[in-house]
């Protein structure tokens, strides 16, 4: 990761995150992200042979819940908060692309 971050990279990442950035923002984020990546590069250059990878900052594993049903939220109340609902379901704009 020694290559310099470009404006095109920032535009690409912004599009993946559905963010609309103005020219000035693209300019400033290009510099800020480059600094962050430079720092990551510094860290990556350290010799970590023999260091166990950190999977999570908390020293916990297997935090589990019993498989017991609890009531959720009321449909009417939730659908009333949605911008658009129909037929007891959330109504969303038409979608192109992948079905699941």
């Amino acid at each position: 990761m020694s290559e310099r971050l470009t404006r095109a990279d920032v535009v690409h990442v912004a599009r993946l995150a559905r963010l609309t950035l103005g020219d000035a923002e693209v300019q400033s984020f290009t510099l800020e992200l480059a600094d962050i990546l430079a720092h990551a590069h510094d860290v990556a250059s350290l010799d970590t042979a023999g260091v166990v990878p950190t999977a999570h900052p908390l020293p916990l594993v297997n935090v589990l819940r019993a498989d017991v049903i609890r009531p959720g939220v009321d449909r009417t109340e939730v659908l009333a908060m949605a911008p658009w609902a129909e037929d007891d379901r959330f109504r969303v704009p038409k979608i192109l692309g992948e079905t699941t």
């Binding site: 589990l64 449909r75 007891d88 109504r91 079905t99």
Partner: protein, 477 residues
């Protein structure tokens, strides 16, 4: 089915299995198919700000059972966020396991002994259900969609095979066997028609010995029939392109059952970039060696083991992959066969009677095991003919009676003495000289006529095999 012009099919399958837990994977909403839309939802599975997921113990347990049953290593694992913008996940990401899945590197053995490698079997959450509304009802041209989040957050295990499958029939056998295994572990209800099991197929073709060709991923395979049809269609599509000198584009394709075709699904604006990163709201899963061992030891016998036991019960006369044995295990009737053998019945005869006459689990439940064994013994000792034994068996299942000897006596069944059979055969030959001449001339189909006549004359007591033997002897065949 072999492909044309020496092309070889290469298939890997991804099977999504909904786990039979009470609740969803990260929240306590009910995991229930078929409920009213949006009645099993909460802040966690709706992705509301501030809500936090907590992993379901039973989902982990089921995932470990599946891994153990598929001979995988169960490893420490973590969850990732798979980021994408699609309204079936209100969070705009799906929690899945990426590079550190819970189960790795196993295999599934088909009834014929062929092993398909399992690359991984990882945990993830299911998405909500979208319905596309508008003029065509199809995804293109839809004006809007309606979303039901009852399914969002239902626990899944995705089982990814290695590209070891070489025919459409093998793909079908793999899914059927995997389904049986998943049901045996208790992790799945196996209902493909309810979407509990969903199959995607990665299909490519190559000339044998060459590198793998470019693959396409086929989605919307809702039945074993769709699976085989789609693989065969897709293989031929790719062969035609290759033979015309064109390139295969790696892409996701949608199977259309009505047209019998696959079609490209995704607009090419941007390759999918899911930007996986570790899910900060969930800590790692690190099952202890004791937990892994306890899960493995508690697994019931898998279908492959059960087929092996049945084969052994026939003294190896029938192979574990033979049709009667596969049928019996599919129907869960192996306990009946093994029970009858334990009561002194002959294994081969038990397997054939169960596969041909009992057939279904419902019928098997009506049959007394000791009585069934006694019937097999009577038949083996030639106290009943094959036809008589079948009739007694049918009555035992109809009336749930346990004493075959009593039924045989009530029906007046006694195997015909061979002297009586000889007399009967000679009488029939005398009564039907023209038919007997045809038999002598080598028209062996006429034997069936004589057997039928012998059955009629004896009220079903004649042994068909004995009559046929006597006829052939008389005819000098």
């Amino acid at each position: 089915m072999a492909l044309k012009n020496g092309w070889e099919l290469v298939v890997g399958l991804e099977v999504h299995c909904e786990l039979a837990t009470n609740t969803k994977i990260f929240c306590s909403c009910a995991n229930q198919f078929g409920d009213e839309p949006n009645t099993n939802i909460c802040p966690v599975c709706l992705g509301l700000p501030g809500s936090l997921p907590v992993l379901n113990h039973m989902a982990v347990e089921f995932a470990m059972r599946i891994g153990s049953a598929l001979h995988c290593r169960v490893e420490p694992s973590i969850f990732h966020r798979k980021n994408y913008f699609y309204p079936d996940m209100p969070k705009d990401y799906q929690v899945s396991q990426n590079d550190e899945p819970i189960n790795v590197d196993g295999y599934l053995e088909l009834p014929d002994g062929f092993r398909v490698g399992i690359e991984r079997a990882h945990m993830e959450e299911d998405t909500g259900k979208t319905q596309h509304m508008g003029s065509s009802g199809r995804i293109h041209g839809a004006n809007y969609s309606l979303v039901d989040y009852n399914r969002a957050g239902v626990p899944l295990v995705e089982i990814v095979s290695r590209p070891d499958i070489r025919t459409a029939e093998q793909a079908k056998a793999y899914v059927a066997e995997l389904r049986s295994i998943l049901v045996a572990t208790g992790a799945s209800n196996g209902k493909m028609e309810e979407g509990s099991l969903r199959v995607d197929a990665n299909v490519s073709v190559r000339q044998p010995g060459h590198e793998y060709g470019t693959r396409c991923e086929i989605k919307n395979l809702n039945s074993l029939r769709s699976l085989t049809r789609a693989i065969e269609y897709e293989a031929n599509r790719q062969i035609d392109l290759r033979e015309a000198g064109e390139r295969i584009v790696q892409e996701t394709r949608h199977w259309n059952e009505e047209d019998g075709r696959t079609s490209s699904m995704r607009s090419k604006e941007e390759a999918m970039d899911y930007r996986y990163f570790p899910e900060p709201d969930l800590v790692p899963i690190a099952p202890s060696a004791e937990w892994v061992a306890a899960v493995r030891d508690a697994l019931p016998l898998m279908p492959a083991d059960r087929r092996r036991l049945l084969s052994e019960a026939t003294g190896g006369e029938l192979a574990p992959g033979s049709d009667p044995i596969v049928t019996i295990v599919d129907q869960g009737l192996d306990a009946l066969v093994l029970g009858a053998v334990a009561h002194g019945g002959d294994g081969r005869r038990a397997v054939n009677r169960v596969a041909n006459e009992v057939v279904t689990a419902e019928q098997g439940a009506r049959l007394n095991i000791a009585g069934f064994a006694a019937l097999l013994v009577m038949e083996a000792q030639a106290k009943l003919t094959s036809t008589q034994a079948k009739a007694v068996l049918v009555e035992m299942m109809e009336t749930q009676a346990s004493d075959p000897a009593a039924i045989a006596t009530a029906r007046g069944f006694q195997a015909m003495d061979s002297g009586v059979a000889e007399t009967l055969v000679d009488e029939l030959i005398a009564a039907h000289p023209a038919e007997f001449e045809r038999l002598r001339a080598g028209d062996t189909k006429v034997a069936g006529f004589f057997v039928g006549a012998a059955m009629k004359a004896s009220g079903g007591k004649a042994d068909g095999k004995l009559v046929t033997g006597l006829l052939r002897q008389r005819a000098g065949l």
